[in-house]
């Protein structure tokens, strides 16, 4: 596969005083990819984005856009678009003037500006609002103006810094789908910074998980969910996870305080954690056809709508088990019930600590 990379970061380091905000980050972002930088606050994701934009200068390393080294190119000469966390719409301009700003800076003809603004307003579904002042718009509409303003200049890469953070849940869910559609339509690389895994999982082709300035893992949503490269990623992604620490005895066998657990084969050795997602764990009075079986007591049950969450105590360890399906309601276990939980060996994964 001959990949074209829109953005490449090579060994980027950025320090603020004694704090290393970005610590030797290497990323290759493919052309027309929806790429997310995901991590808890303070993990360096926003700084990384600002380095790509040229708003922050790296202390070490190289930034490339379409193969060209732009490390020393000022922001206004990089062909990027950016949507800011608080949008940063110009308050003294109306919707049209805001969107036309970048085109005017590029000395585009008046008629052409009018045509392109009209076209982009159609894409973001804001037709007819050209003359509104930005403070007369709803949060969702302002969001679209910010997006249109950044997209109308046809940037080589669009950078988005937690743009949906300020919106309420319903509009946010709607905008997630919309953003993905717009990205498909305009065929541009989107680099999206967020601390919200739902946003990242919903929209991204690939996600980079960051922590303490370092990239922990880069992969598709499926890969990072089912094959986390360490315990941080395993517990950061997904609603919940079961992690049991132990020692690798041989390929696919881990000795833990609960006994030996059979896992997907892995080359990892030494001290590890066994990871099993709550929905992969089965629960019943009597279980068959599982490779790992434990007897336990139900501690609590929570009805979560589409599934039931059990907390099961096994020799002092709490397991989280998610059971889907309405039929489960009739066969529900209750706190204090003795149950068996278990899973097949390829449902559990050996994860380095």
């Amino acid at each position: 596969m001959n990949d074209v990379f829109s953005v490449e970061l090579e060994n980027i380091v950025k320090r603020f005083g004694n704090v290393v905000a970005v610590d030797h980050v290497n990323l290759k972002i493919r052309e027309n990819e929806f790429f997310s930088l995901l991590g808890p606050s303070g993990c360096g994701k926003t700084t990384t984005l600002r380095i790509i934009a040229g708003l922050e200068e790296p202390d070490e390393g190289i930034v490339k856009i379409y193969g060209e080294d732009v490390t020393d190119v000022p922001t206004h000469k990089r062909n990027i678009g950016m949507v800011f966390q608080h949008l940063a719409l110009f308050p003294h301009m109306n919707v049209f003037e805001n969107i036309a700003f970048g085109l005017k800076m590029r000395k585009v003809q008046k008629e052409e500006i009018r045509r392109q603004v009209k076209k982009i307003l159609e894409i973001v579904k804001l037709e007819g609002l050209e003359n509104r002042r930005v403070n007369q718009l709803s949060g969702g509409q302002q969001q679209r103006v910010a997006l249109a303003r950044a997209l109308v200049i046809e940037p080589e890469v669009l950078l988005l810094d937690e743009p949906l953070g300020a919106l309420d849940l319903k509009i946010r869910q709607h905008m997630m789908v919309e953003l993905k559609n717009i990205q498909r339509r305009v065929k541009t690389t989107f680099i999206y910074v967020t601390h919200d895994q739902t946003e990242a999982m919903t929209m991204s082709d690939r996600i980079a998980i960051m922590k303490d300035g370092k990239v922990q893992q880069v992969g598709t949503p499926l890969e990072i969910y089912y094959r986390p490269s360490n315990t941080f990623v395993a517990s950061f992604i997904g609603e919940a996870v079961n992690l049991i620490e132990g020692e690798v005895r041989e390929n696919g066998l881990v000795d833990t305080s609960l006994g030996t657990i059979y896992c997907t084969e892995s080359l990892t050795k030494g001290r590890v954690a066994v990871m099993v997602r709550p929905e992969m764990v089965e629960i019943s009075d009597k279980l068959h056809d599982v490779d790992n079986l434990f007897k336990g007591t139900v501690q609590s049950i929570i009805f979560k709508g589409s599934y039931i969450e059990y907390r099961v105590d096994v020799q002092g360890n709490t397991f989280i088990v998610h059971k889907h399906g309405s039929a489960e309601l009739e066969r529900m276990h209750h706190p204090g019930d003795f149950v068996e939980i278990g899973w097949r060996k390829n449902s559990s994964l050996i994860v380095p600590i």
């Binding site: 708003l55 922001t75 950016m82 608080h86």
Partner: protein, 265 residues
């Protein structure tokens, strides 16, 4: 309180409409005679225009000097911004009159500065600046500069710096970012500074009295003369009322322009 506040103003108003006080007998038959005399007096108009000109040039110079100062402190200084602002304000803690006298001693023909420059051979003869237009304007700029810098600084501090970053991501370099974003958004500060400098300087009478010559009279001096010199309180009052009306119209125009944001900046 309000009565005390407005009583002098009210009395001046009565005088301007020809109230006469003879031997403690108040005779008041409202008349516009003093207004018509003032308005048809071209000499007064000339002095009024000169006041506008002096105040206008002063505002412009304050803006040209004050904007870079406010911009620099707000944008370029990262630490101890307040310290810089206080350092800038400290000279203005000294009484206005003292500052003006200090300036006089610098501008004077026999001043230390002039003596130094001539003795160094940098100038042939002492710079003659006292008792000229330049002296009046220079001292007014010095005395009122702080009134321009503070509202500008307050305004620039409030300006969301990510707007400037947004402009740069859209392809605007530093110059165009300044012209298209920073400057338009600092208009409230410029307008506030304009009012705070223009209003006191257009009515200024101490500075032209002290550093100006016979040709640098301003409206304030004229009104002063009518009250304290010629003792013609009626013309003085009519002049004052017209002047207040002019200032009031400026303030109303300002409030309209700023709209609901009000006088606060």
């Amino acid at each position: 309180m309000a009565i005390w506040f407005y009583a002098p103003f009210f009395i001046v108003g009565l005088y301007s409409f020809d109230m006469i006080n003879i031997n403690r007998q108040i005779v008041f038959t409202p008349s516009l005679v003093h207004y018509s005399r003032v308005l048809s007096w071209t000499g007064a108009m000339g002095i009024f225009l000169r006041s506008l000109y002096f105040a206008g040039v002063t505002v412009l110079l304050c803006l040209l000097i004050g904007y870079p100062v406010a911009y620099y402190i707000s944008f370029k200084i990262k630490k101890y911004k307040d310290l810089f602002i206080i350092l800038f304000i400290i000279p203005f803690w000294v009484s206005f009159l003292l500052r003006t006298y200090a300036m006089m001693s610098i501008l004077d023909e026999r001043s230390f500065l002039n003596t130094l420059l001539t003795s160094l051979g940098l100038i042939d003869s002492p710079i003659k600046i006292m008792y000229t237009d330049a002296a009046v304007i220079l001292v007014m700029v010095y005395d009122y500069l702080v009134m321009m810098v503070l509202p500008l600084y307050a305004n620039l501090e409030k300006l969301d710096k990510t707007l400037l970053e947004a402009a740069s991501t859209l392809g605007a370099g530093p110059v165009r970012t300044f012209l298209k974003v920073t400057l338009p958004l600092s208009m409230p500060g410029i307008l506030a500074g304009f009012l705070l400098v223009f209003i006191p300087t257009v009515g200024e009478f101490v500075i032209p009295e002290l550093v100006g010559g016979p040709n640098n009279y301003m409206v304030g001096n004229l009104i002063y003369e009518f009250f304290m010199g010629a003792r013609h309180w009626w013309i003085g009052s009519a002049l004052s009322m017209l002047f207040i009306a002019f200032i009031l119209s400026l303030v109303i125009a300002y409030v309209r322009k700023i709209g609901e944001r009000g006088l606060a900046f």
